[in-house]
């Protein structure tokens, strides 16, 4: 009797869940249809025309026949443009891809984003990535240490963040400025939390030389101006193949910046925007990012990445900077690097 009951319960659950799935898929079909009717989606992005980003947009246009207009801006310009447009009632953008902290800031200072709703592919997110009411993870940019392989012998290669504080590197580390907001300060904040305060104090004693042009700085290291550069965004080194440089993923892990999608308030094309978000979480889309040495946020992409990209797509993550800690971390960096 109990076996029969179990069968009935199982059958009931299967029917129930398949009904939910079919209801969900019916809902999603309606979203897709509505998106196609809208015919266009306007994305505000910080990708600044990166080829992998452009490739994902192209594949979306090819798959759904929906035109994507991407407005590429630097982080602060994007934030101000969104804020100004929303405040002035000019709702030109549909969705944005920005850092987690920027979305937190938008929620704190105004009413610029709306609930995203269910995104089917979000069910495939890997740990530790999660959606919130208003945001969906898009991709992750981890950071490590860049070395010049002609100036740093294999036995001297730093393996841990602590190795940067070896006296032999004093005055020989080029770094993104840690005082203002940016990758340098993200690294500073995460290492302060994970490695302890003495780490940053010792690093300051190493007298790193600050610069503000991450793309050119990696090349300066390649040319031999400095043996070491921190923090090296993995993805920014993926196009330096052939140069005498190597990205080291420290054993403690990599600080990172997380990019997320948000749906803008009063978006003219909300369904097309949701469809684009879903498309970004397709394994094929994420694979484009993984092959560009970024960390995909869904399961199944890192495993399929190219051999040279696998280590970066599977890098151990150390943590990201948070909005609440940011002012204190910037102040501390200013104090240490006066």
């Amino acid at each position: 009797m109990s076996r029969v009951l179990k069968w009935i319960v199982c059958a009931g659950w299967l029917v129930g869940s398949s009904a939910t799935v079919s209801a969900q898929s019916a809902d999603w079909t309606a979203v897709v249809d509505a998106a196609k009717k809208e015919g266009k989606v306007v994305v505000y992005s910080m990708a600044l025309g990166a080829p992998y980003y452009a490739a994902v947009l192209k594949s979306f246009e090819a798959k759904y026949g929906i035109k994507v207009e991407s407005l590429d801006l630097r982080a602060s310009e994007l934030a101000e443009r969104v804020r100004t447009e929303q405040a002035a009632g000019r709702f030109l953008g549909d969705t944005e891809i920005i850092t987690t902290t920027m979305i937190e800031e938008q929620l704190k200072t105004g009413d610029y984003v709306q609930k995203v709703g269910d995104i089917p592919n979000a069910a495939n997110l890997r740990e530790p990535f999660k959606t919130s009411d208003v945001s969906v993870p898009a991709y992750v940019q981890p950071m490590g240490i860049l070395i010049n392989t002609r100036l740093v012998k294999p036995e001297e290669e730093p393996k841990s963040w602590n190795d940067l504080n070896d006296p032999k590197w004093k005055g020989k580390i080029l770094s993104d400025d840690m005082r203002p907001l940016g990758s340098g300060n993200t690294m500073f904040a995460v290492l302060q939390k994970k490695m302890g305060a003495p780490f940053n104090e010792q690093l300051a004693e190493q007298k790193p030389v600050f610069s503000r042009d991450m793309r050119n700085d990696a090349r300066r290291v390649a040319r031999g101006e400095y043996p070491i550069y921190v923090p090296q965004v993995f993805a920014f080194a993926s196009d330096l193949k052939g140069l005498p440089v190597k990205v080291v993923i420290p054993q403690e892990g990599a600080p990172y910046a997380q990019m997320e999608f948000a749906l803008l308030k009063n978006a003219a094309h909300p369904n097309a925007a949701r469809l684009l978000i879903n498309h970004f979480l397709e394994i094929d889309s994420q694979l484009l990012y993984a092959n560009a040495w970024m960390l995909p946020v869904v399961k199944g992409a890192a495993e399929r990445a190219n051999d040279d990209a696998k280590a970066f797509a599977n890098a151990k993550l150390m943590g990201m900077a948070t909005l609440a800690e940011r002012p204190a971390m910037m102040e501390l960096a200013r104090k240490l690097y006066q």
């Binding site: 306007v42 600044l48 025309g49 990166a50 080829p51 207009e69 991407s70 407005l71 590429d72 801006l73 630097r74 982080a75 602060s76 310009e77 934030a79 101000e80 443009r81 804020r83 100004t84 447009e85 929303q86 405040a87 002035a88 009632g89 000019r90 030109l92 800031e105 200072t109 105004g110 400025d177 203002p180 907001l181 940016g182 030389v209 600050f210 610069s211 503000r212 042009d213 793309r215 050119n216 990696a218 090349r219 300066r220 390649a222 040319r223 031999g224 101006e225 400095y226 920014f236 196009d239 330096l240 052939g242 140069l243 909005l323 940011r326 002012p327 910037m330």
Partner: protein
């Protein structure tokens, strides 16, 4: 006998041209025209500035709840900001003085001496001005870094010394990089002023026994005062607002200037501090305004008219064997400021990576990727459209404003002049935010925001100060006798304007047009905040390429821009030559 009242008197029908001319000479139309001009300038300059003034006095930007206070200004008047300000003034003053000396020397060599190949040298000297600073910064980083810079390696190899000869990441490096841009900029002003000068005054000085040097010092230079002072002011103010040089070469040497402080407060703060950025900009604007008043005071009541009714031809000083020295000086400047950095860019554009000149890295991929990139061509098309339209509109507006402020006694002309100055005094990246706020918060029916018109209007506003200064300097040199003579001989106001003023000032107009056109091509701060999908301009596309690590492709575009400069300058100089020969 019946009499006729005045309104019964019948006049013979008047021709439309005469009617219009009379109307133009009346007071009412003049006031109307002046009011329209003031309104237009106010929209271009006062409107975005008023948005920024609000931003400087309010704790939050427009559209957000906040309170009014003076915390932005209080933050400005602190010791760290004073240090930043001292750095800025010091750097700008140094580079302006040195570049003005060089510009006057080159202007004199090119326009007044028999130095060989002056035509070619004139084009070559101005080239650095037209190259995006980010490219020359990268090139100088490769040439002058203390560790493995090409210059230092060559020096160490030649001298056996272990200490580097130069370090571009220093105070001197910042000044040097800025100097390369301001020298050709000032040269363009000065050379036209030299050309427009009647040499009779100098000849009179020589006849009275003055030496060549004394004549230059006591006659030539004082007569050039409007052009020199205007150029000095423009260059000094632009120096205060310079960004790329201090960012790239000053940051590693811990040198902070006003623009990097503003950049940090807008782009690299936990919450963008627009209040401080705009307050700092207004304080600087106030100080710049004092400089402009000083300029007015200096030029007031003095005549600098050197182009009179008497015919003249520019006198060429025979230098004898010394002409080869002047030739060498110009060539040396060209080699240091153009050949060295641009040579690096040209060489690097044929290799996979800059600075790695190996046979296996030789490639034409960067040229292929740029020439095959639809976005680049679209940006070129948009930039050209905006450049031609913007530069032409700006120069027409600048010519009118300069005419009103220098050739008339109309009340309110100084206000017009001040309004035209304002955009130059506000750092570009802050003014760009003013435009963003201004256009976005216009009444809903006015849809400038998000269209290509937003860019065009911003470019006209940003270019007007230069156009006004160029044309004012040109008008200052024209004698009033010329206009009076024309009118006495029966020419109408329009004919006089066309046949005398425009005809004599158009070489300056052409210079101003080229400066404005390439200013538009290089402008980034406003472009990136105001462009919309489909209206991408070249500077935005270059920024994207740079941020994506495509420095070599950026160089290819930079080199294409230089080719354009060659073409423009060649056409311009040919036209001037043809025009001057028919004077």
């Amino acid at each position: 006998m019946s009499t006729l009242s005045s309104n019964e008197i019948t006049h013979p029908p008047m021709r439309w041209g005469i009617r219009f001319a009379r109307l133009m000479e009346g007071k009412a139309p003049r006031r109307l025209a002046l009011a329209a001009l003031a309104l237009l300038l106010a929209f271009l300059s006062l409107y975005p500035l008023s948005m920024l003034l609000y931003g400087s006095l309010h704790t939050t930007p427009p559209g957000m709840a906040g309170t009014f206070n003076l915390s932005g200004y209080i933050q400005v008047f602190t010791w760290p900001t004073a240090v930043v300000f001292a750095n800025t003034v010091g750097i700008s003053l140094l580079k302006t003085v040195f570049s003005l000396l060089l510009a006057v020397l080159f202007g004199w060599i090119i326009s007044r001496t028999d130095t060989p190949m002056r035509g070619s040298l004139e084009v070559l000297i101005t080239l650095p001005f037209f190259v995006p600073p980010i490219l020359t910064a990268m090139a100088w980083g490769m040439l002058g870094n203390p560790q493995v810079g090409v210059i230092n390696l060559a020096w160490q190899w030649l001298s056996g010394s272990e200490t580097p000869l130069v370090n571009v990441y220093s105070y001197a490096g910042v000044v040097w990089h800025m100097l390369q841009y301001s020298t050709p900029f000032l040269f363009l002003f000065v050379v036209e002023a030299f050309r427009a000068m009647d040499p009779a005054l100098e000849e009179a000085s020589r006849m009275c026994g003055a030496s060549q040097w004394r004549t230059f010092r006591r006659v030539t230079l004082p007569l050039m005062l409007p052009a020199v002072i205007t150029a000095f002011l423009l260059s000094f103010i632009r120096g205060l607002e310079s960004f790329e040089s201090p960012l790239f070469f000053g940051t590693p040497a811990k040198i902070e200037v006003v623009t990097t402080a503003i950049y940090n407060s807008i782009h690299h703060q936990s919450i963008p501090n627009y209040q401080f950025a705009s307050a700092l900009s207004f304080v600087i604007m106030g100080l710049m305004f004092l400089l402009v008043i000083w300029q007015w005071h200096l030029l007031r009541g003095r005549s600098f008219q050197t182009v009179t009714g008497k015919g003249y031809s520019p006198r060429v000083i025979k230098l004898g064997p010394w002409r080869w020295l002047t030739f060498a000086v110009c060539v040396l400047f060209f080699i240091i400021s153009v050949v060295l950095p641009i040579g690096q860019l040209l060489l690097g554009s044929f290799f996979q990576f800059f600075g790695f000149y190996q046979w296996d890295m030789l490639t034409l991929d960067h040229y292929r990727s740029v020439l095959g990139n639809d976005e680049v061509w679209r940006a070129f098309r948009n930039t050209f459209l905006l450049g031609f339209g913007g530069a032409s509109a700006t120069m027409v507006l600048g010519s009118i404003v300069a005419y009103v402020s220098t050739r008339t006694r109309w009340s309110g002309r100084q206000l017009i002049d001040v309004l035209a100055w304002l955009p130059w005094m506000m750092p570009g990246m802050v003014l760009a935010v003013g435009f963003l706020w201004g256009f976005a918060f216009l009444p809903g029916a006015i849809t400038i925001y998000g269209t290509i018109w937003a860019l065009l209007i911003a470019y006209v506003a940003l270019g007007t100060p230069v156009s006004v200064r160029v044309m004012s300097a040109a008008y200052h040199q024209l004698s009033f006798d010329l206009e009076e003579c024309s009118r006495v001989h029966g020419a109408s106001w329009w004919q006089t304007l066309w046949r005398i003023l425009i005809a004599l000032a158009w070489p300056s107009f052409a210079v101003g047009w080229v400066l404005t056109f390439f200013g538009i091509m290089r402008e980034l701060s406003a472009s990136v905040l105001l462009y919309s999908v489909g209206s991408e301009v070249l500077s935005v596309v270059l920024l994207r390429m740079w941020e994506n690590g495509q420095a070599e492709a950026v160089s290819v575009v930079g080199l294409m821009m230089m080719l354009l400069v060659f073409l423009f300058r060649w056409v311009q100089l040919r036209l001037i030559k043809r025009y001057v020969s028919t004077l």
